[in-house]
Amino acid sequence: MSLTRRIVFGRDPRRTAVRVLVLASLSFIIFKWVLIPIRAEGISMQPTYQSGSLNLVNRLAYKYRKPDRGDIVGIKLAGPHVLYVKRIIGLPGERVSIAQGQVYINGAPLDEPYVRNRRGWDIQEVTLTSREYFVIGDNRGMRAADHDFGRVDVSRILGRVIF
């Protein structure tokens, strides 16, 4: 066997083929059902994520635990191919409001070190149901009207953005 063939196909081509097949199948399963690759579009998660950045959503992240405050999550629309990427700031049952850009949870200000710029957003207090989370992007320097955020049902949370 020539050196090139040996480099490409290995010492035992049959075994190499099996390895490639197993690896391809595993990659297919993982990237289709477990770690969903996404490309961020838009500026609503700046500075944490830039528009065009590639990220992964872990669909199994909430199999054994509930979404938590500060988690960045993928929120599905009709399915898993187009997602909103937002940060959870309010948990089920909590009261959430925004006054002059400052987020309040149950009346207490929320420390958000990931927010760099703030505009004077004002959102009246809402009480989340037992199935709702309040999600928002990190870029509060944009106009509130241009920013998609609010309460989402837990069933819409596809997984946690891990990268």
Binding site: A17, V18, L21, V22, S25, F28, E41, G42, I75, K76, L77, A78, G79, P80, H81, V82, Y84, E132, V135, D148, F149, G150, R151, V152, R156
Partner: protein, 159 residues
């Protein structure tokens, strides 16, 4: 081992891609609508012809509800008029339809469709693209062997 894995994968794919002829017809219909919208003014067709072509995907009494703050668009004629007016701007615009789920109801003549429509706009001056995605619920009806959109309702992801 590897053969078994391939067989399992093939079976899984076949199971996922099973569709009735009506479901396939609806999917094809939406695909051609998407292509029609995206080809917009690029193929040299007049705006009226293009609007009429897009209008043919809708029933005569079609209703489009875009959510809070928007007046529902009622009727194919109104819709065609809007499409004709919008066309000069659609050259820098692309529509994608993802996550289409179809459920045939009412004895096979009506279908409930759920999908995500993404609208990618390209700035003519900077070339920068911006994406706006939204979930829509469609009611489609079959008349004369062809599926048409009777109602489009925008669904708010955030409350």
């Amino acid at each position: 081992m590897a053969v078994l894995l391939v067989l399992v994968m093939a079976g899984l794919l076949a199971w996922r891609s099973r569709e009735t002829p009506d479901e396939r017809a609806i999917r094809d219909r939406l695909d051609t609508l998407r292509a029609e919208v995206n080809s917009s003014t690029k193929d040299g067709l007049g705006t009226a012809v293009r609007a009429a072509q897009i209008g043919s995907y809708f029933t005569e009494d079609a209703v489009v509800e875009l959510g809070e703050g928007s007046v529902p668009i009622k009727g194919r004629e109104t819709l065609m008029g809007m499409v004709a007016r919008l066309q000069p701007r659609t050259a820098a615009f692309r529509m994608d339809l993802d996550d289409v789920t179809i459920e045939i109801v009412s004895g096979g003549d009506t279908a409930d469709v759920l999908l995500t429509a993404s609208f990618v706009r390209r700035s003519i001056s900077t070339g920068e693209e911006s994406l706006d995605a939204r979930e829509y619920a469609l009611v489609m009806t079959k008349a004369g062997g062809s599926w048409q959109i009777a109602r489009i309702t925008a669904i708010d992801t955030f409350r």
